[in-house]
Symmetry: C2
Subunit: 374 residues, 2 copies
């Protein structure tokens, strides 16, 4: 792709490309991102931006093959940029990129098409791991079949992606009924839909639940894609959506050793305005301390969300068997379970977390090593 | 404290207290926070808020000693609230609490009054640990003296507070010059002021740097309280402050095993509008992809921040010796070092992190067990 035209104004190099697209490049941006600004080995930025003034500008711009050169008014320096690089990093409207993550939300029909991987393949093939992780990134939930019946299996599989996220419950946790539970997960009660640990500054990202035994009557697992529910609320009740995104409520868990509290919005948005997180856990919701003028409306919005989350059209129900593992994005997909009867047999899930930072990093590295680019 | 007067409207119980303060309590809030709404053992919330309607309201309110009772229009239920509880959780303006964390920002004069603790006391006395942690929470930086000269000491001390925050560099890291560095910390170069790992979704909270040896010439440590710098920018250049808080820039670190990227604002605010985090790391700043209409102004704001961070009136310089440990809030206090000459002697710091969630939890538990209340 060639350059059709270019000109300079006070702050900006304007380029019109051969395909008609236009882009602007601010002088400070160009100087800051000159290829000599990065360390040869670590590729970290080493240029000191303050070594030039606010008013730096080109004294000459020249084009030579597929490169654009700039001589600068300061520092006796020439920078060179390839056309490819200039188009790749263009930030003008004509180059607006789809930076969202190819997320696809789902409802109850997802139960028939849940992505699954084979434990053996995921452990030994990077290609199989990548395929399974791409599905998990897109849908927020995927299964692994034929897990070994060992306590270590959940950790070994999770570590194919990255190091574990520790919490106040440890690096791993066992979900089964115990005599003196510190929270409701460790009873035989039904567990309403929730996301884990919204009382932490950063709730855990991906949750791994390996079913070692499920021989009790009852105890089916239930899941809802919070992103789908929020898409619908955003359209049908935009004011409720805004309240849930803009107001923060307190969450808390405490026992003898911990007292973990955080104010967090139920809905988090990224810089593109997309929903990135849902934090919903009625058990850990502390006493709301919202301003009095929004309290009533907030309760109505919150209750709307609660009702929508229980709508059966969003919900999938699975009966995990020994050897199954379900993995889901804990800040997107809500999970719960039906009541079970511990006298009828053993129910034992073993869980761990890997956070989003490590998941996404691994996905990028696998795409690179498996030749699927950036 | 008694109740002077009370009345009901459509949604709210209004109370005027004997001291003249007024508070409102919304019916949904009162019903949701009835003492029977919490589990007897775990203290988690078990009441199903959807078991009542949007229109629930009192049929009778009565006062009996220091308790207020409400009979509800639904569910044949009576709730009781002590006056103390009602005042403690009041969310009306008259009860607006100072919920900020008694933070005190500092400038270069802090060098003469840096809080310090003795390793032996911190390890064996909860009271000493609490005092030292309160100082660290308030000022964002504190020292520990007379650390043992072992590789484990930094971990053992950090674990007095909580479990470690793992990163792509592991649970601990060693700062010394190495032949093939993956980042500039592991050279003998000067390290400009920065916060660690803004490329992570949540940058690490408290950083522990144990000085095992510092016999090289040079290599002094430097620190700046980012909160103080931002207070000044907020007053003197509010538009720059807003840009740094509202726009997100990309950060990135990559090597053979990781490719960790995140868009984050340089300044994060909490729900009270207070600065909670500064993320500043020129080395990890990736190529800015801001909208073209803010790019130039953003660069000016960012450069203003850079200049302020270098202003000597904010900076403290310390020469850590063997046995010293400096601990600081990595999302508040920027750190760096002067260049050193590795041929003149060994310089070896060993580091780890404990995140804010665990730090704050430990502080609450220590306050409780040391009898300083909530």
């Amino acid at each position: 792709m060639g350059i059709q035209d270019h000109y300079l104004d006070e702050q900006v190099l304007h380029i019109t490309w051969s395909d008609g697209k236009r882009s602007k490049y601010h002088y400070l941006w160009l100087r800051d991102n000159c290829s000599s600004a990065f360390h040869a080995i670590t590729e970290e930025r080493t240029f000191d931006l303050l070594s030039v003034s606010d008013d730096i500008r080109p004294t000459a711009v020249s084009i030579d093959g597929d490169k654009l050169h700039i001589d600068w008014s300061e520092g006796d320096h020439r920078s060179s940029y390839s056309f490819d690089w200039l188009r790749k990093y263009a930030y003008s409207v004509d180059f607006a990129q789809d930076r969202s993550g190819r997320v696809e939300s789902w409802d109850k029909r997802f139960v028939d098409v849940i992505p699954q991987g084979e434990h053996e393949a995921i452990m030994h093939s990077d290609a199989a791991l990548l395929t399974w992780m791409e599905d998990l990134a897109r849908y927020g939930l995927a299964l692994v079949r034929n897990m070994p019946a060992t306590n270590e299996a959940v950790v070994e599989t999770a570590e194919r992606i990255g190091y574990l996220r520790r919490t106040n419950f440890g690096l791993t946790f066992d979900v089964r009924s115990v005599p003196k539970p510190s929270n409701q997960a460790y009873t035989a009660d039904a567990l309403p839909l929730h996301t884990d640990l919204p009382n932490h500054e950063t709730p855990p990202g991906y949750q791994f639940l390996h079913c070692l035994n499920n021989e009790s009557s009852g105890g089916e697992s239930i899941f809802v894609d919070g992103f789908r529910v929020l898409e619908d609320i955003r359209v049908n009740a935009p004011e409720a959506f805004e309240l849930l995104a803009n107001q923060q409520i307190p969450f808390r868990f405490h026992d003898d050793d911990y007292d973990i509290r955080e104010h967090r919005p139920v809905i988090s948005l990224n810089y593109l305005g997309e929903v990135t997180e849902l934090k919903y856990n009625a058990h850990l919701a502390d006493i709301f301390d919202l301003p009095e003028d929004v309290m009533h409306e907030y309760y109505l919005a919150y209750r709307l969300l609660m009702r929508q989350l229980r709508d059966p059209r969003y919900m999938i129900q699975l009966r995990l068997g020994g050897g199954d593992m379900v993995v889901f994005d804990n800040r997107r997909v809500l999970h719960g379970r039906r009541q079970f009867d511990p006298s009828t047999g053993l129910r034992h899930l073993r869980g761990t977390y890997v956070d989003r930072t490590e998941f996404r990093s691994r996905l990028r590295v696998l795409r690179r090593t498996q030749g699927q680019g950036n």
